[in-house]
């Protein structure tokens, strides 16, 4: 029997899963929308992912914003933040990469690497302007499928300038431009460009972006954004066909590195996994507690500041 490893990346918008073998080769992968229900999304994901016959699952890693919850649910041996996971996933395919641009659903980050080691990183702090969810909400407003966005943007020769420092103001500026009669493709191109400007000004401020540059995250599927990145930075931007899976791949590799003797099984169908929120009234901190039940058995309580409910 050969061993394989599962990496799950549960983001705000989409959930990604990969199964790799011991040579980091992707055996199976899956991408679906989280739809605000990480537990349900992971259950669906695991139904779709197939472990090939002669393999056994030796490790599970989770990353993304729901990493802790899903890590507990799957009993993962590695729970890692998305920055490290992305860097490790990307360097396993492109060992020479020096800059990783990542734009996801809710967050965007830049990771600088030298010889495969992270030397600096930054993440958006204040606002979600210039992320995937901004693009998808504007797509809905314009009545365009977000998957088509990039292609439409490429048609335009004259992208509209948008005041895009803030999501809300960008939206009102966009409405204004629509109402005075700008063409749709110019507006869409303007949106793609504003994402690039916003990202470079807010996330990368003061950082030296050296090539080779890799662009990933959900927004990297948008050819319009890629085009404006190349235009602004003046270099070629690499986009891997599996760019959306890099986080999951990275955490699968980490699971491989921390492998134990344990063999995992993926039958979550009969496991009931419930979370209940409540407020503790022990002191004036009023911590929001989250109780996690597995098959009606309380396995952990999160969110207390005083450590009263900490797992022993």
């Amino acid at each position: 029997m050969k061993s394989c490893y599962l990496g799950v990346d549960i983001g705000s918008i989409s959930t990604k899963g990969v199964i790799i073998d011991s040579q980091n080769k992707i055996l199976d992968s899956c991408y679906l929308y989280t739809e605000g229900d990480p537990i349900g999304a992971v259950k669906r994901l695991l139904n779709k992912l197939k472990i090939p016959k002669q393999y056994i699952l030796k490790g599970i890693g989770t990353t993304g914003s729901a990493r802790k919850l899903i890590g507990l649910m799957l009993d993962a041996n590695v729970i890692k933040n998305e920055i490290t996971a992305h860097a490790i996933g990307t360097t396993s395919i492109y060992p020479n990469v020096r800059t990783i641009l990542e734009i996801g659903g809710q967050d965007s980050k830049v990771i600088l690497l030298r010889e495969g080691i992270i030397v600096d990183y930054a993440m958006n702090t204040l606002c979600a302007a210039g992320t995937g969810s901004f693009l998808s909400s504007q797509a809905k407003r314009l009545g365009v499928d977000v998957e088509e966005f990039g292609k439409i943007a490429l048609k335009s020769n004259n992208p509209v300038k948008l005041a895009a420092r803030c999501t809300v103001f960008a939206e009102s500026d966009l409405v204004h431009k629509v109402q005075i009669g700008y063409e749709k493709e110019d507006i869409i191109a303007g949106l793609c460009r504003s994402v690039v400007f916003n990202y470079l000004n807010n996330v990368c401020k003061g950082k030296k972006l050296e090539s080779p540059i890799i662009f990933q995250g959900g927004v990297s599927k948008n050819v319009g954004v890629i085009k404006y990145f190349e235009e602004t930075l003046g270099t070629k931007i690499l986009v891997d066909p599996n760019s959306h899976l890099m986080g999951a791949l990275g955490v699968a590799i980490l699971a491989k590195k921390n492998e134990t003797d344990k063999v995992y099984k993926l039958n979550l169908k009969d496991i009931k996994f419930i979370t209940k929120g409540s407020e503790c009234s022990g002191c004036s901190n009023n911590c929001e507690l989250l109780k996690i039940y597995k098959n009606d058995e309380l396995i952990d309580i999160w969110g207390s500041r005083c450590g009263k409910f900490a797992k022993q």
Binding site: N81, T84, I117, V119, M123, G206
Partner: protein
């Protein structure tokens, strides 16, 4: 005023020293300000302008909570930045809320005011000789607390038994509350210094050293920085911090003069910006693995210092992580960034 009840805003573990001083100097009730909690932050932000720095909101919240507990005289300090005007605005806000009280500013414009004169003017029942004597003890106490806490920050990450440092620290603070004299205080300090050195630690060969610089209140009040130092200790990171009350009150004067002679900067930049820049340089030169810069949101001197700190760290190739703390900072976001920072430092070390 019928019976005077004194209170004061909180910062870190200095409550022990301040309460000690006040309860021995004044012949009136001293009210323990309640610990800073989410409620404090909520009350504070409710009555503060939204774009004021976070310490204003926390101290205002604490003041309201102590006023509700019955205090009618409150001490506040002012520093070398916007902080210097805090007491004026806070007084105005609290008066508008209908509180009848007296606000006394101990340090204004970065200079210590003549305390005895103020006390005389305000008719506070105090004992002059006692004030001087217990003042001396308090100064010494603050110095001792700072020394011990510096030791704790550096060594807590190596502890074998979890919480052994924190427990002993708490014991020490409790015993310091009962200090009888200068000599007694010295005995306590030496006793606990010995005990701290006796705590079993396991120091690995390669460990990560991080220096923390930034705005003073955010650095010193663990509630506002989500127990950053504890989080780092739990990860196994040894922490160095320069800013403490001893530094601000006694060392800063001389250090700044020394710093200005080094010709990196010509002018002071307000508050601790200059100090932080030089401390960053010191940390870079002394092989620290990383630097964490924390400030309260909208802290102007630190905003001015950030690009310079970034440049210095860049030249020495030391990574810096910037945090801007506020009630609206997400705790998860802070923890994710901190975890990633740790992973990065660990990878670099290999």
């Amino acid at each position: 005023m019928s019976s005077i009840k004194i209170s004061y805003p909180l910062m870190g573990n200095y409550e022990v020293a301040i309460f000690y001083l006040l309860s021995h100097t004044f012949k009136c009730d001293i009210i323990h300000p309640p610990k800073i909690t989410t409620r404090t932050a909520e009350i504070g932000s409710k009555y503060s302008p939204d774009f004021v720095c976070a310490p204003f909101k926390y101290t205002l919240g604490t003041m309201i909570e102590s006023l509700d507990k019955g205090a009618n005289v409150i001490f506040q300090m002012g520093g070398g930045c916007r902080y210097g005007y805090y007491h004026e605005l806070q007084r105005k806000i609290l008066e508008d809320l209908g509180y009848d009280f007296k606000l006394i500013n101990l340090i204004s414009g970065g200079k210590q005011v003549n305390l005895l004169k103020i006390f005389k003017e305000t008719n506070l029942p105090y004992h002059k000789i006692k004030a001087i004597y217990y003042g001396l003890i308090t100064i010494k106490m603050v110095k001792y607390i700072d020394k011990i806490e510096d030791y704790i920050r550096i060594h807590r990450c190596f502890e074998v038994k979890k919480n052994s440092f924190n427990q002993l620290h708490q014991e020490m603070l409790n015993e310091m509350k009962k200090t009888k004299s200068l000599f007694h205080l010295k005995l306590i300090y030496h006793k606990y210094r010995r005990l701290f050195k006796k705590i079993k630690i396991k120091k690995p060969k390669n460990y990560i050293k991080v220096g923390i610089v930034g705005e003073l209140y955010t650095l010193m009040e663990p509630f506002t920085n989500y127990q950053m130092e504890q989080l780092l200790s739990d990860m196994g990171v040894s922490v160095k911090r320069f800013t403490d009350v001893t530094y601000l009150l006694f060392k800063k004067k001389y250090k700044v003069k020394k710093f200005l002679k080094q010709h990196l900067l010509k002018y002071r930049m307000g508050a601790d910006a200059l100090d932080n820049i030089y401390h960053t340089k010191y940390l870079c030169e002394h092989n620290y693995d990383g630097i964490i810069h924390m400030k309260a949101s909208f802290c102007t001197p630190e905003i001015a210092a950030m690009p310079i700190i970034n440049q210095i760290a860049h030249e020495y190739k030391v990574p810096v992580l910037f945090f801007s703390m506020d009630m609206n900072t997400s705790e998860t976001g802070v923890k994710t960034r901190l975890e990633a920072f740790y992973d990065m430092l660990e990878m670099r070390q290999k």
